[in-house]
Subunit: 328 residues, 3 copies
C-alpha cells in the first residue's frame, strides 16, 4: 500500500495525515480552504465549535514537546473533542514492558477516534497508521527527521494569506536541512502547490544528498540565495539532534547563515520571514528580524491552531458548516 | 461498620466501590445491566452522556498506571464530568509533608464528588472511604494485593455477554494468584454470581494459603485444570511485585503454565480466553492464543469503559435513562 | 506605569490580579460580593456556570503546587473554560532554551485569554503582565516571597462571612512573616478593607524590617498578641524556603509560637482560626485547634474556589448573572 493510499479513504478523502508526499494539490488546497473557516474562530468572543463533540483524541507523545502538544490540545478542545494525553516515557510501555502494538490496540478498544503521534524515530507515525483499526485516524506531529506535515501546512497557509499565487513565488528555506523534518515536509508542500521556485540555502554539511532530487535549487551563500525571494523560511538549528561537529561553531554559523537585516535586504522588499519556532535568537536569526515588520512568526503560531483544527475535522469527517453530529 | 455497609447507602444503593466482598448478586447484576446501556455508547457516533455534568471526579493515583488512569478518565469524560488527575508522588503529600487525611479533606472542601483511588498498599481505598465526607464516593482502582473490583466486574460483563448463565459455567483462573488483586476480586464476583465451578491453576508457590476457603478448586497442572472449562482467565505474571525466587525462571513458568494452543485444546471448544492486560507475550500466554479466535482480551478493554461508566453513574446516583440533572 | 494602573483597564475594571497593593476598597468589596454568587455553586447539584465557555486559561506553573493548581483548574472548569496546564520545568523553556517572552508570545498567538502564574521569583507575575498582549489577563498564583493575592481574598471572604464589619475587628497574623507571600497580601487586604487593628506575632528573626511601615502592630509574645483578637491567621512555617537557622528548632518554635488551645484562650471566645494550608501539625498549630470548633480552615478551601471563580470571571469581563456570551 502506498503512502497516498494509506492517507486517503476509499472516497479519496483525508483519513490519516502522515506526510505531505502522496497528496495532490486539490487536497492540500482543501485543507487550506477549511483552515480559513477556523482562522476566525480564535479571534471571536466564543472559540468553541461543536464539530468533534463526542470524539476522543489521544495525544501519544513518545517525545516531549510542550508547544506542539499544547497546539494540538487547544485545537481538539476548541472542536469540543475529549482529549487524553499519554506521555509514553511514563507509561506501561516503559514500566511494564507492554508492546507498542498492544498499547495501540487497547486504545482502539477504548473507542478512541484519533491518535496524534510525536516520536523520535522516522516512520513511527506510518508504522502506527498501518497497524491501527480502520476507523482510527493518525496525525503525525513530528517523527524523527522525516516529516512534520501540519507544520508545513500552517506555513503554506501563512504564505497564501500574504502572497496569493504560489506559481509567482520564490521561496527560500535556510539552515539545517539535514536534521529538519519541517524542511522535508515544506519542500513537498511547496512543490505540490506549484511554487515558482524553491531554494534551499545551507552549508554543505547540512544539505542531505537527496535534496537535489526534490526539484529545488541549492545555494551555499545566504546573500546569493536570498536575492529576490518573496518568502524566507528559517529553520531551527537542531542543536539537540546534532551528533558530531557539522558546524564549526554557533558564532561562525550565525556569521554565515544567521538572518540579519543586512542580509534580508537581498530579498524582495515585501518578503515575509518565517520560522517554525522555538527561535534560537542570535544563532539562526537576529532579534531585529524576528521581531521586525517582515516577520510573520507569531501569525504562524495562530495559523497552526486553525490548520490543525481543519486537519482534525477533515480526518474525522467533519467539515466546518456541516454540523451533522447529534446533540447530546 | 462492615465493608458491606460502608459500600451501600441507607437505601441499599451503591455508594463506594471498594471490593466485591459484601455485595450480593442483585447489586452485581444491576451493575452488569447498567453497563449494557453504556456498552453501545462507545460505538455510536456520539459518545457523550450528560449524566455526570457538573460533577467533579478526582483521580488520586498513588501508583502510576497510564492504562487504568486512561480508562477512568475516558469513562468520566464520556459522562460529561469534570476530571482532575493528581499524581501523589509529585504533590504536596510528597513535597510538603501534608498528611493524606488533610489532603482528602481539602479535596472534599473543594466540592469534589468522587475519588478514584489507585494505591500500592492493600486497604488504602477502604481507609480513604472510611474517612471522607458522606457525600463523596470512593472507587477502588486497585490497592496493593487486595482488590481491583472494576476489573472483576468488566470480566463478569464479558463472560455474561458470551456465556449467559453463570450457574452452568466452569471458570479457570490461571497464574500468579499470590500477587493478584484481580484474582481475589474475580473469585468473589464469580462465587457471588453463582458460577457452577471456579478453579484456580498455579504452582504451589503462587497460591495463597487462604484460597481454599473461598470455595474454589485448586489445580497445579494446567492441562488437568483446563479440562472442559468454558472460560480461561489468565493472570499477568507480576514480575514487578515478586520478591525472591517464587518461580524458577520465566522459561520454566511458560513451559508449565503458559497458555498455548495445545493446552487450550483441553478446554471446551468454545471456551473464551481472558487476560486483564498488559500481556507478557511468551511468558503467561502465547501470541497465537492472545490474538486467536477464542481471545476476548480486547473486548474486555471496551467493556471496561462501559462498566466503569455504570459504576460511576450508580455511585453518584445517576442511572442511564433518568437524565435528572439540570441543564447549565 | 504603577501597579494600580497595570491591574485595571481604562474603565477601572479588574484586568490583572497580581497583588492587593493598588486596589481600593471598592474593587476588593466587588470581588467579595461576586464570590458570594459562586459560593453556592459548589454545593448545588450542578456546579457548572457557562460564563467562560469558549475562553482558554493556561496554568503556567514554574513551581509545582498540586493544591493551588487544582483549585484554579477546578475554578476554571466550573466556569466552563478550556484549561491547559504547562509545567515549565518540563517544557521548551527548559529543554530547548526558548526564552520566557517567546513562550508567552506564542501562547498569546494561540488565542489564550488568561495566564495563571506560579513562580518562585518575586515579581514574576508582574513581569509577565507587563509583557503580554493587552487582551490577556494575568492572575498571580504566588510569586516568591512577594504576593499571593487570591489567597488573601479568600481569607477576607472567610472573615466577612463570620464577622461582618472589618472596622470592628482585631486580626492577628502569626508566624513566619519573613518568608510569607500570603502574609504580605493579607496585611494589604486587611488594611484596605479598614480592619480595626492588624497585629503580627513572630520571633524577631521572622519579621521583615519593613513590616512596621504597613500600619500593623508587632508582637513577639504569642499570648500577649492574641489577647482579645477576633481572627487568628496562622502562617505555614516555610521550612523549604528557610536558608540558615532562623529558628532554633521546630520544637522550640512550637513551644513559643505554636497555636494550642491554652494560647487560643487569650483570644475572644468566638475568635476564628485560619491557616492557608498545608498544615504542619504540631509545628505551627495543635491538631486540637486545627480540627476544633473555632477552626475555619476547610471553609477557606471551599471559599478559595468561589473567590478564584469571581476573580477569573471579572478579569475576563463576565460577572455572574450577565451571561452575555454567545452559545456554541
Amino acid at each position: 500500500m502506498t503512502a497516498s493510499n494509506l492517507q486517503l479513504d476509499e472516497q479519496g478523502r483525508l483519513h490519516h495525515f502522515l506526510t505531505i508526499e502522496g497528496f495532490n494539490r486539490r487536497i492540500l488546497t482543501e485543507i487550506l480552504d477549511n483552515a480559513e473557516g477556523f482562522a476566525t474562530v480564535g479571534s471571536k468572543q466564543m472559540k468553541k465549535a461543536p464539530l468533534l463533540r463526542g470524539k476522543t483524541i489521544v495525544n501519544l507523545f513518545f517525545e516531549t514537546s510542550t508547544r506542539t502538544r499544547t497546539t494540538f490540545e487547544l485545537a481538539a478542545k476548541r472542536l469540543s473533542a475529549d482529549v487524553v494525553t499519554i506521555n509514553i516515557a511514563q507509561s506501561a510501555v516503559a514500566n511494564k514492558g507492554e508492546s507498542l502494538l498492544d498499547m495501540l490496540h487497547n486504545l482502539e478498544a477504548m473507542h478512541c477516534d484519533m491518535f496524534v503521534v510525536r516520536h523520535g524515530e522516522s516512520g513511527a507515525a506510518h508504522f502506527i497508521a498501518r497497524h491501527v483499526a480502520p476507523h482510527i485516524s493518525v496525525i503525525n506531529a513530528g517523527d524523527g527527521r522525516h516529516a512534520h506535515p501540519t507544520q508545513a501546512m500552517l506555513d503554506m497557509f501563512t504564505i497564501r494569506r500574504h502572497k496569493q499565487n504560489f506559481a509567482d513565488l520564490k521561496v527560500a528555506i535556510v539552515g539545517d536541512l539535514m536534521h529538519s523534518r519541517v524542511a522535508r515536509s515544506e519542500i513537498h508542500a511547496l512543490t505540490t502547490l506549484g511554487t515558482g521556485e524553491v531554494r534551499v540555502i545551507a552549508p554543505k554539511t547540512l544539505v542531505p544528498p537527496a535534496v537535489s532530487t526534490l526539484g529545488v535549487h541549492v545555494f551555499h551563500d545566504l546573500r546569493e540565495g536570498l536575492r529576490d525571494v518573496d518568502v524566507v523560511i528559517m529553520l531551527r538549528l537542531q542543536r539537540e539532534r546534532m551528533e558530531g561537529a557539522l558546524i564549526p561553531s554557533e558564532q561562525e554559523y550565525y556569521h554565515l547563515y544567521g538572518l540579519t537585516e543586512e542580509k534580508l535586504a537581498y530579498a524582495k522588499p515585501d518578503a515575509i520571514v518565517m520560522h517554525p519556532g522555538p527561535i534560537n535568537r542570535g544563532v539562526e536569526i537576529e532579534s531585529a528580524v524576528a521581531d521586525g515588520p517582515q516577520s510573520v512568526i507569531l501569525e504562524q503560531v495562530s495559523n497552526g491552531i486553525a490548520v490543525r483544527m481543519a486537519v482534525m475535522a477533515m480526518a474525522l469527517g467533519r467539515q466546518p458548516g456541516t454540523e451533522r453530529e447529534a446533540q447530546a
